[in-house]
């Protein structure tokens, strides 16, 4: 009886837990905050955890989570993309225009993804080879995309979308398809970044470009590749975003880029690069919906939502900064 199995395991499991928390501290914090909100709000108003609202919370922001995967990679590299909101608006309109013109649905889904890859690859070339800071390139791209979109569509909404095109409204086992996209893409990207050489190289370049260069990584090529990949996630996000409703508004969604960047940052991505995972950004995207939905269920005016989000951003980043200073 002196050594029960559970006792023997305890020291090991607690150190494993510590290790896990150290590696995924921010992700754990976001998850815990999410749980706290869900528990507290559902105690006050049980309807919060009704199936309809859960679906709404998780599926409604799935496209933000998908876009935040690519944004996380970009920020890990030490870059930024402020054009992602405009890009999603443009790609969704391309998808919708193709759909109402009678193209097969797979074309309507594929073309925006390819266009996204192309545009972001061009951005990547300008950043990596022409050495223009990403924020400057993407600031310019915002204007080009915004202006281009409104000039072409004249702001007319795209309606009469064929039902088979509306992929975000498909369900499998009663669960909306965006949820599957979000979960599968997050896990795939997370595993890829942890184990694949290309994925690991992102952390290497984000951590120290010159060190990465000496071990044989070509940062310029990697940057273009990561931007192209980011464009792919933007394309998928755009298709999910554009097929959520029966119409596509063919305008650029306001402040969408900030929501996506914020999801990545709250999820634990260090803006200086080199640290963070896509699990955190996806949790953060769900966390946003949970908070905005909580305001509704607690009868708080939705006009306070942005203020609450602002406090959350500052609190998480402050906590992160303080934790890092303790380690040093």
């Amino acid at each position: 009886m002196s050594h029960s199995p559970s006792q023997a395991l305890r020291p090991m499991s607690s150190s494993a837990l510590l290790k896990f928390i150290r590696a995924y501290g921010q992700e754990t914090a976001v998850l815990l905050s999410l749980l706290v909100i869900v528990v507290v709000v559902s105690l006050i108003n049980p309807n919060y955890l009704g199936p309809a609202n859960i679906n709404n919370m998780v599926a409604g922001n799935a496209y933000i989570a998908v876009a935040a995967i690519g944004m996380t990679m970009i920020i890990l590299l030490g870059h930024i993309d402020v054009a992602i909101g405009a890009l999603i608006g443009v790609l969704a309109s391309i998808a919708g225009t193709l759909a109402v013109s009678g193209y097969p649905v797979w074309v309507c889904w594929l073309v925006p993804v390819l266009v996204g890859v192309f545009i972001e690859a061009v951005v990547g070339v300008l950043v990596a080879y022409a050495r223009i800071p990403a924020i400057v390139v993407t600031l310019g791209v915002v204007s080009i995309l915004k202006g281009g979109l409104i000039t072409v569509t004249q702001g007319v909404w795209i309606s009469n979308l064929p039902p088979e095109f509306l992929i975000a409204q498909f369900r499998l086992f009663g669960i909306p398809s965006p949820v599957y996209f979000m979960i599968l893409l997050t896990i795939a990207a997370g595993v890829w970044m942890r184990y694949a050489p290309f994925g690991r190289a992102i952390y290497a370049v984000g951590g120290n470009v010159e060190a990465a260069r000496t071990v044989g990584i070509r940062p310029e090529r990697l940057t273009v590749g990561v931007f192209a990949l980011h464009g792919m996630f933007a394309g998928i996000a755009a298709v999910l975003f554009g097929t959520q409703l029966q119409v596509i508004q063919s305008t650029v969604p306001n402040n969408l880029e900030l929501t996506i960047i914020t999801a990545s940052v709250i999820g634990g991505v260090s803006i200086i690069g080199g640290r963070g995972t896509v699990y955190g950004s996806t949790l953060a995207a769900i966390f946003f919906s949970a908070v905005s939905s909580a305001l509704v269920f607690l009868n708080i005016s939705a006009y306070w939502l942005r203020a609450v989000l602002g406090v959350l951003i500052l609190a998480t980043v402050l906590a992160d900064a303080m934790r890092r200073r303790q380690i040093h």
């Binding site: 022409a130 400057v136 006009y303 942005r306 203020a307 980043v317």
Partner: protein, 313 residues
Amino acid sequence: MLSRYVFRHETILALLLVLALALSANLSDRFFTVDNLLNQGRMLTEVGIIAIAMTFVIITGGIDLSVGSILGLSAITLGVVWKTLGVPLPLAMVVAVLAGAVCGAVNGVIIIKSRMPPMIATLGTLALYRGLAEGISQARSVRGYPEWFFVLGQGEFFGVPTQLWVFGLLVVVAAIILGYMTFGRVTYAVGANETAARFSGMNVDRAKLLIYTASGSMAALAAVIFVSRVSTTRSDMGMGIEMDAISAVVLGGTSIFGGRGTMIGTLLGILLIQTMKNGLTLAGVKGDGTIIVIGSILILTILISNLVNRKRD
């Protein structure tokens, strides 16, 4: 010796501006009328005032994404303090500008104390300040300002729009501070090498705090002018104006990495953007077509400037 001036970013910009002016005048005979030019001055003032302070911010290697939200919050403060609390309007204007200064100081304190990158800190306060504006106003607008208040945004002074005097004065003062005073030298030093600046005994934190506070105050001043120009207060005022201001500053040759930039460059950047907007609009291009050109010019100018400068290095 000559090539040093020819290849300066500001020279390239000035040439572009002359070209844009000539083209605009060619495209429409309404461009070079006094009325049109003065009216354009009215349009560029708000972005311009914000871009002045943003130049200092970016030269220190920072960025202030929250200026649009500070503009919104200051506008709401003005409206609420005057209408709801019944404070006399001149005092409410002061309170509004002070509110902006406080917002800016909060940015500064967060950035200095937490060592958080300015982009993230001001991304947080962008959401926070806009959220406060929306929460306080509950999307209700404030109207019914007295006639005298519109002098600032709609009136003239010696035939020139009132706000253009304010803008001109601020540009001159800012150019002198940045180019000829100790504070300007400190600003460049912080952006070029913050650690070196600290070791040289410069009060880096004080400089940063002052600059972010100034950035907030300028956004608030722009808010008061904005409200006076459009005769109403709304919580969504100034949304996205940070991007216009940053574009103008960067187009003006200020390096986003800090340490480099001039007030003349920023002024040229603002004038060039406004000229192109106006010229293209008068030539019949829809408002949205004009921003495509501006985005392209932004990327191309920096690209050319990079290439020219890399060859010379």
